[in-house]
């Protein structure tokens, strides 16, 4: 084993230990806040794109590109906050999130993939592409809310 590889392995191992320890130390209420913050921000950056596509506000390709790029990242942020230790916290997460994590993960991935497409179209300043990829993003949000969020 080369020195470099060994160093990398050690670093990764320490990193993983630190990460898992750090994760174990995060308080459940903080994780719920993390989820809700990520959700709030997604709505915040998705809303104006929707408003522009509906013609309620003038279309601005730069704003759309920025918002869609934020969304692309934000859509990956809530999920590691959905851990069983948060089940006792006050939140709108349905028990199904923890009962059927595979289905929940699938719903999350649907959103992640949809925002990647939206982000690419938005950065390419492709308004028709933005229009076409916006629906699937909104649909992924709503589909997951239906199954995994209390009314």
């Amino acid at each position: 084993m080369s020195k470099k590889l060994l160093a990398a392995a050690v670093t990764t191992a320490i990193g993983a230990m630190v990460a898992s320890q750090a994760l174990a130390q995060v308080k459940p209420e903080t994780l719920v806040k993390q989820r809700q913050a990520a959700m709030t921000l997604q709505a915040k950056y998705l809303g104006p794109i929707g408003g522009m596509l509906k013609g309620n506000i003038p279309y601005n390709a730069d704003t759309v590109a920025l918002n869609a790029t934020f969304l692309e990242n934000l859509s990956r942020m809530p999920w590691d906050g959905f851990v069983p230790s948060t089940q006792g916290e006050k939140s709108k997460a349905k028990p199904e999130v923890f009962k059927d994590p595979a289905k929940f993960r699938q719903a999350a991935e649907q959103l992640e993939q949809a925002t990647v497409k939206l982000g690419a179209a938005a950065r390419a300043k492709d308004e028709a592409g933005v229009k076409a990829s916006f629906g699937p993003v909104a649909k992924a949000c709503g589909g997951c809310h239906d199954n995994f969020r209390e009314k």
Partner: protein, 227 residues
């Protein structure tokens, strides 16, 4: 048709058009709410149409044809009770307008639709759709009204179920085809009831059109708020 029955025109075109347009729009509302995404734009548009229709029906209930007026079909509790007893004994009792229980069902359905459309104006879906008046209230209030919008639909569905079950009961067990009458406007009434002063007075279709325009204008002013 029993020999002693006479076909009588009871429902004017505005009532019938109102009824079936409403049926189509409510189905469309449910479908678009399920489809979400881009369909929410259409969900909102047809919500405005429903609100205008309900406003129109309320106006028509005061100024329309005699059979369409609330005063002709809203019965006292005692009359409702008597009618319910006859229903359970499967004794037909024909009415030119809505029967005593059907009349109150009209009010219940209109009220449920008003709540549904009214809360929808202030609702948000936490994604990218919000009602045209959502900006007037806090997010918390909008969320609360969205929850009512969600649950009230179940209430509406329950009322629709009861309504459909009742007309099927009339059709199957009492041999009264109320559904057909809502299409043709013609009910078959016992000869004595048909002759005995129940002849409907029909209001002008132009008045209906004018009231519909008033209702649509009211919805426009609520949604667009040009002032």
């Amino acid at each position: 048709m029993r020999s002693s029955e006479t076909p009588v025109k009871v429902w004017d075109a505005p009532v019938r058009l109102f009824h079936w347009t409403l049926v189509l729009l409510v189905v469309f509302m449910y479908v678009t709410a399920q489809l979400k995404g881009d369909w929410m734009t259409w969900h909102m548009r047809s919500g405005y149409a429903i609100l205008a229709l309900v406003f129109f029906r309320i106006l028509w209930g005061f100024a329309g044809s005699s059979t369409a007026r609330f005063s002709s079909f809203l019965a006292r509790p005692a009359a409702c009770l008597r009618f319910a007893q006859r229903l359970l004994k499967r004794e037909p009792a024909a009415f030119a307008s809505h029967n005593p229980l059907g009349g109150w069902m009209v009010v219940a359905l209109l009220a449920a639709l008003l709540v549904q459309a009214g809360t929808g104006l202030f609702a948000n879906d936490d994604i990218a759709t919000e009602g045209p008046l959502a900006g007037l209230v806090s997010k918390e209030m909008s969320d609360r009204l969205s929850t009512i919008h969600y649950w009230n639909f179940n209430g509406l569905l329950l009322l629709v179920g009861l309504h459909v079950a009742a007309v099927l009961y009339h059709w199957g067990l009492l041999k009264e085809n109320l559904i057909g009458a809502m299409f043709t406007g013609v009910k078959r009434l016992p000869a004595d009831a048909a002759a005995g002063g129940v002849a409907a007075r029909f209001a002008s279709p132009w008045l209906a059109l004018a009231l519909l325009a008033v209702a649509a204008l009211a919805v426009y002013l609520i949604v667009i708020r040009p002032f």
